[in-house]
């Protein structure tokens, strides 16, 4: 089952102008144009030895000339031999930290953020992940107003990867590497000899408008050719592959497979995967009063915070949790992500970003686990 939710209709793409090109030193013109419209810019910056998402002042805040080396349980920053501004893949953060913050006060209701967000540097896998979370928080019988408030006006500048990471497998999940929907502007960074430039495509009317405030020229065949080559290079350099199978049928038929015992012996149930995964959405609601409340007189408050299916409390019914063993909790996470998510929401929950592989301290690789089950089922 393909990961990508169906494209939203009616963006009037037929009416949008064709791609343009601007020089890398004009990137600030783009960022300023966005900022002038009242957006809060957030994007990749180096912090704590990783490329994280944080407030962005200008293009100089971007990790120029840096890349990330990723593998199972491995993440290192390394200097590049060029000055690419987006020459890396994805780090431990995902955009859910802004759309679905780790902590929110439900009651008394928090005011919406002062400024809408502009996400700078969103990868195709991340666009797919946002669309997946849109289905959870906005696509059911009820909508989450917190998510809706942050999502509705968010401005998205996507970046097409020119190179895949060591744990990437977006191609297998049909979630990239090229952004095809859900963005206002999509950039492809082109590093020709002495011609560091960006190919920019408008995905919405407001994206096209903003591009008119940047010094651009129309894109020519050399530019679009270089962009295609960059995408092709990303496709060819994927670090991982998810087996091309009906994952839903495979996993739902193998809940008693011995491989679950094997992975359980390695899994620490630390929940890192659920925190870094851009689609994980479980949350818990807590009621507090008295000293734990920040309301006057200790009046009651309700909070929402990220939860993880790896906790013992997650499946609690009176008497105890349903999923006690490590085995059952790992199985829950993986089968939900790849299989039962499809039953529940109509798409896969996985976009092939590889974060769960990189940030697992035990180096558990979801693609390897699937292959092992498939080999012997």
């Amino acid at each position: 089952m393909k990961a990508r939710p169906p494209q939203s209709a009616g963006t009037g793409q037929a009416a949008l102008p064709g791609p343009v090109v601007f020089q890398s030193d004009a990137l600030d013109q783009l960022l300023d144009a966005i900022r002038r419209r009242g957006f809060r810019l957030v994007g990749p910056v180096i912090r704590d030895g990783a490329i994280c998402y944080d407030d962005l002042g200008s293009a100089t805040d971007l990790p120029e000339g840096w890349t990330d080396e990723q593998d199972a349980a491995t993440y290192r920053l390394k200097q590049r031999d060029d000055d690419a501004l987006f020459g890396y893949n994805v780090g431990p953060h995902s955009w859910k930290k802004y759309l679905f913050p780790p902590y929110a006060r439900l009651s008394p209701q928090e005011p919406p953020p002062d400024q809408p967000f502009a996400f700078i540097g969103v990868r195709s896998c991340e666009l797919t992940a946002i669309a997946i979370q849109d289905r959870v928080f906005l696509g059911g019988q009820r909508k989450d107003p917190h998510y809706e408030a942050r999502r509705a006006d968010a401005f998205i500048v996507a970046v097409n990867c020119g190179e895949a990471g060591g744990t990437c497998f977006c191609v297998s999940m049909d979630a990239g590497p090229r952004a095809t929907q859900g963005f206002d502007i999509a950039l492809t960074e082109l590093l020709g000899d002495d011609d560091h430039r960006f190919l920019a495509e408008a995905g919405t009317v407001r994206g096209a408008e903003i591009l008119t405030e940047v010094q651009t020229r129309p894109a020519g065949p050399a530019d679009t050719g270089a962009a295609s080559a960059a995408t092709a290079h990303a496709v060819a350099s994927m670090g991982r592959v998810m087996p091309e199978l009906d994952l839903r049928a495979l996993l739902e038929d193998n809940f008693d497979h011995p491989r679950w015992d094997d992975v359980a012996a390695r899994c620490l149930t630390c929940g890192n995967c659920t925190m870094v995964c851009p689609t994980c959405f479980c949350f818990s609601v807590e009621d507090v009063s008295g000293l734990a409340s920040s309301q006057a007189g200790g009046a009651p408050e309700r909070h929402r915070s990220w939860d993880s299916c790896f906790t013992m409390d997650h499946s609690y019914v009176h008497g105890g949790p349903v999923r006690v063993s490590d085995r059952s909790r790992y199985r829950q996470w993986m089968t939900h992500k790849l299989a039962t998510w499809i039953d529940q929401f109509g798409t896969s929950g996985c976009v092939g970003c590889g974060r769960c592989i990189t940030w697992c301290p035990a180096g558990i690789d979801i693609t390897e686990e699937v292959a092992a089950i498939a080999a012997d089922s």
Binding site: G140, R142, E252, F281, E286, G290, R302, D343
Partner: protein
């Protein structure tokens, strides 16, 4: 899915119901059995629900829990909720007095297939705290009794003191158009009723297995034994419906806690056709 009357327009749903529960009044409180209380709540406005659905009951500063509605759908001013004291929120709810207020949001979830069961026999099997979620279905059946064949109620509890709605069950047993049998796991000789397990009552009950719908609520072990006994009596599992319990917190298919394999119990349940569930109930720790 809420039932809508012809004369009243639908109320717009609040966008974020779990943030703003409505304040309902506690009209009456009844102690049913040790640790089990029925709250009679009055909504501030019109309220409709289908048998099998549940409300989220909220005590500020303590928390929120899902409780099945246990009254007749025809009575919207006295909405009953039968609660067992098993934790801090239910304890707080069980301690409420008439005049107190409760935060309520709902109704949520799927409902018993009462209309689909018309024209055939109905077997209702309840264990312990499983009787309250079935009462609304029984009331609905009794309000159009002529549309159903034999109606059988089989109810089991741990001991005679744990039987809920005992007076009502006696009254139902007195009717000529209902077979009501009650059993307990253990009793002293002051009890003149049955001692034994609920599934064993099925083979003694009279119903046409080819035209019977069975509604079952109780602990999961009891459900599995009951479904087996129904199967042995000829009722196939596509005619058996159960109400499942999982950790429902948001009740709006967003928080992820109530997952049961491919199902979200708050949205795809709590009432399920057993056939849909069967393979998942056979896997441990799902």
């Amino acid at each position: 899915m809420r039932a809508v009357t012809d004369t009243q327009p639908r109320e717009p749903r609040p966008v974020a119901p779990w943030i703003e529960p409505q304040s309902w009044q506690v009209t009456a409180v009844r102690l049913e059995a040790p640790g089990v209380v029925t709250l009679d709540l009055t909504p501030p406005g019109p309220f409709e629900f289908l048998p099998g659905q549940f409300n989220m009951l909220y005590q500020p500063g303590v928390g929120e829990v899902p409780i099945s509605i246990s009254s007749s759908p025809a009575d919207s001013s006295h909405v009953l909720h039968t609660i067992r004291d098993v934790g801090p929120v239910t304890k707080a709810l069980c301690a409420l007095q008439p005049g107190d207020r409760v935060g309520v949001r709902g109704p949520y979830g799927t409902s018993w297939p009462v209309a689909a069961a018309e024209g055939g026999d109905l077997v209702v099997v309840a264990g312990g705290i499983g009787l309250p979620p079935l009462r609304p279905a029984l009331y609905q059946v009794l309000s159009s009794r002529g549309r159903f064949g034999r109606v059988t109620v089989l109810y089991g509890a741990r001991t005679p003191d744990d039987l809920l709605f005992a007076d009502e069950l006696s009254a139902w047993r007195g009717r000529f158009d209902m077979d009501v049998t009650v059993t307990v796991d253990a009793a002293d000789s002051g009890w003149h009723g049955n001692v034994g397990v609920v599934p064993d009552l099925i083979k003694r009950a009279a119903f046409d297995p080819d035209a019977t719908t069975a509604l079952v609520v109780g602990p999961e072990i009891m459900i599995r034994f009951t479904v087996r006994a129904l199967g042995a009596a000829g009722v196939t599992d596509d005619r058996v419906y159960v109400s499942m319990e999982r950790n429902m917190q948001c009740a709006v298919a967003m928080c992820g806690h109530c997952q049961l394999g491919p199902f979200l119990v708050c949205r795809d349940g709590p009432v399920f056709s057993y056939r849909k569930l069967a393979r998942w109930l056979g896997i441990r720790e799902v």
